[in-house]
């Protein structure tokens, strides 16, 4: 079989990956710079027997996929900052009710309408803490289309495994950039299917009673089992409860199922870290510039390395602490005011060696931008 090579926008690569992962229901609302995902789904999904819906807003989009997921489908929606803000209530609902779903946020400049067609990574904290209440969430990102394809499939796998919404935190540069990638052969990337209950019809099914491994088998809503789903704290039957023991247990379950499995969830890439004295930490499109700089400086003998994060949440504190232990400088490269910087400072023992190389003017951060900041940090002057 010939290689299935594509040369498309990142948004299209993401859409193709979702279809590869078994997506069969997409609901969305057009918003720059994510619209191409919605448009691609409108064209492709009906041709493979899937369902595409354009909804009346982003609130409706997320709620529609929540309903469809509970009823047995693999689901996704795509949006950008303003739409992601509107989705926050329903996002919390999906966390509380443990509905697998994938939400793509192709970041634009913000706050508010901001810079619809420009580069930014300002929604990192929002992805975790945009919705109210204490919780844990999974958010992934990628810097190139090949990785984006695999990470998108991974997002679906994690959503099914942990019964949780997964945020795909892309940015405008990756979303709109055209680059080549290969669509892997079917089966090359393992897919996690829906874990359905083995409880037969007529036998009591407890929708919120975790198995020993913490996973919750699902029963297609409206199928053979009749059960209740609510955004209120609930018992193993899914009925509302304010019993402190039940509330405590559910709260711990929602958080522990993710935070206890960081080692299984976490994904990253390492470049020249073995002997690096200066370590760049970056993610998404800004990691492209960081990688370019690292390779360029390495050829001149500078001991520069790059840690590219692909899992943003849950944040890999242990990994960062280990990798940065012996570094002289740790420089976080991102297009915001230091949202990952803050987490890195928490992660490592000597936060005074952590610096920020950023750009927040809507322009893509270049290798030169990073190099100039690096020279200042290293005391080499401007």
């Amino acid at each position: 079989m010939e290689k299935n090579i594509k040369f498309v926008q990142g948004n299209e690569a993401c859409a193709e990956a979702a279809i590869y992962a078994g997506l069969d229901f997409f609901a969305g609302y057009p918003i720059t710079p994510s619209t191409e995902i919605t448009e691609h789904m409108a064209l492709k999904l009906p041709q493979i027997g899937g369902k595409f819906l354009q909804m009346e807003d982003e609130i409706a989009s997320l709620c529609a996929i929540i309903g469809a997921s509970l009823t047995g489908k693999k689901v996704m929606t795509a949006t950008s900052g303003p739409g992601f803000s509107l989705m926050q209530e329903a996002l919390g609902y999906a966390i509380m009710t443990e509905i697998p779903c994938v939400i793509v946020n192709v970041q634009r400049g913000g706050p508010s309408t901001g810079l619809p067609t420009h580069a930014s990574q300002g929604d990192v904290n929002q992805a975790s803490w945009g919705t109210h209440g204490d919780h844990a969430i999974i958010a992934l990102t990628a810097s190139n289309h090949q990785d984006l394809f695999e990470i998108t499939v991974e997002a679906f796998n994690l959503a099914e495994t942990y019964r949780t919404p997964v945020i795909l935190l892309l940015d405008e540069v990756v979303g709109h950039m055209r680059e080549g990638f290969v669509i892997p052969k079917p089966g090359k990337i393992p897919l996690v299917g829906r874990l359905r209950t083995s409880v037969k019809q007529g036998v009591d099914y407890h929708p919120y009673l975790p198995r020993e491994d913490g996973r919750l088998p699902m029963s297609d809503f409206g199928g053979v089992h009749r059960y209740n789903v609510t955004g209120l704290f609930h018992d193993m039957w899914g009925f509302p409860t304010d019993d402190p023991k039940s509330v405590h247990e559910l709260h711990r379950h929602l958080i522990d199922k993710i935070l206890n499995n960081v080692h299984l969830i976490e994904k990253h890439k390492e470049y020249y870290l073995d002997d690096a004295t200066t370590i760049l930490i970056s993610y998404g499109s800004s990691a492209r510039s960081a990688r370019h700089l690292v390779e360029n400086r390495r050829s001149r003998g500078e001991l520069l390395g790059l840690l590219e994060l692909q899992t943003i949440w849950p944040f890999p504190y242990g990994l960062i602490r280990k990798i940065c232990a012996d570094a002289r400088y740790v420089v976080v490269v991102e297009m915001n005011m230091g949202q990952i910087l803050r987490e890195v400072k928490i992660a490592i023992d000597d936060p005074e060696k952590v610096f920020l190389a950023n750009r927040i003017d809507g322009s893509y951060i270049t290798p030169t931008d990073i190099r100039n900041i690096l020279r200042l940090i290293q005391g080499k002057g401007v």
Partner: protein, 297 residues
């Protein structure tokens, strides 16, 4: 208000600068220019994300000479409510607050705040320029996209659902003035805005606004195509004043006359290319039935 405005007695003062960012042939740029002449300088605009915010441009190419609150997508009428409340609290009774939104910002994401404002009886004018899809993001279907139209989110068979009748929905709130207009008849729109200004409470004007880029026709045909929508009886110009329906202007003149076949209108735009003969015939029958109703009144 029986005197009809003509090109000769239109105010000369321009409140929209030329050289703005509208596409060539943009229907919105016609109605915005003429609409602001009718509204006058003592007006505050509230506008959600839409083609209008693009038309208004980036500094220094700013198109509007009026204060404009460019607010979030879902909240045009809510923000207008706030502006209005503060103005009235300051005893500024004469300043007109105008919400000016596209069809998405009116009929889809914006309808909740619009409905709320109409129910509360807010003293503002809401103008919807209906170009029948999300043109600002690159032609996705909206609630007011007609059935059968190809957009980037209805790319194969066209939209499966009918156009949402927004003026009827707003009229159902029992507000005192609802009107429809067309970018092809800007002076009719001018008179309707002038009339709306004499009425208090919520007033709603829905303007059919041809879009060359989104509808698939040459920019020079904007007015021609807008007129055809009216002349075929597909899109009617009317007023609902104090719950009384009345056809107006060019639509009123069509009563008892032979209308152009709607197929001619469909042929002028590439967005209708997926339309079957059967659907065209259905639309023709719907138009004929609608007009039979008008003529028997």
């Amino acid at each position: 208000m029986t005197e009809k405005t003509t090109i000769l007695n239109l105010p000369e003062e321009e409140l929209v600068h030329p050289g703005n960012r509208a596409c060539s042939g943009c229907g919105l740029s016609i109605i915005y220019r003429i609409g602001l002449k009718a509204l006058g300088r003592d007006t505050i605009l509230v506008v959600p994300p839409s083609c209008l915010t693009v038309l208004q441009g980036l500094y220094p190419i700013a198109a509007t000479q009026l204060p404009c609150l460019n607010v979030t997508f879902a909240s045009t009428a809510a923000a207008a409510t706030g502006v209005l409340g503060a103005l009235r609290a300051q005893k500024r009774e004469k300043t007109t607050v105008v919400a000016w939104a596209g069809d998405g910002g009116t009929s889809d994401i914006g309808i909740q705040s619009l409905s709320g404002a109409c129910e509360r009886g807010e003293d503002f004018i809401f103008i919807c320029y209906d170009n029948e899809a999300y043109m600002n993001t690159g032609v996705q279907r909206s609630g007011t996209t007609p059935k059968g139209v190809i957009t980037t989110t209805t790319p194969i068979r066209g939209k499966l659902q009918k156009k949402k009748e927004v003026p009827a929905i707003i009229a159902a709130h029992g507000i005192d003035y609802v009107a429809t207009a067309s970018a092809a008849y800007p002076l009719d729109l001018y008179d309707k805005i002038k009339k709306a200004k004499t009425i208090s409470g919520p007033r709603y004007i829905h303007v059919h606004t041809p879009c060359p880029a989104g509808w698939g026709f040459e920019p020079r045909y904007t007015v021609k195509i807008g007129k055809m929508a009216v002349e075929t009886g597909l899109y009617d110009l009317y007023e609902i004043e104090h719950s009384k329906f009345k056809l107006t202007g060019p639509s009123r003149k069509l009563i008892g006359k032979k209308r152009k076949p709607v197929a001619e209108y469909f042929k002028t735009q590439s967005r209708f290319k997926a339309l079957s003969d059967k659907r065209t015939e259905e639309v023709q029958q719907e138009i004929d039935a609608k007009w039979e109703g008008y003529e028997n009144e």
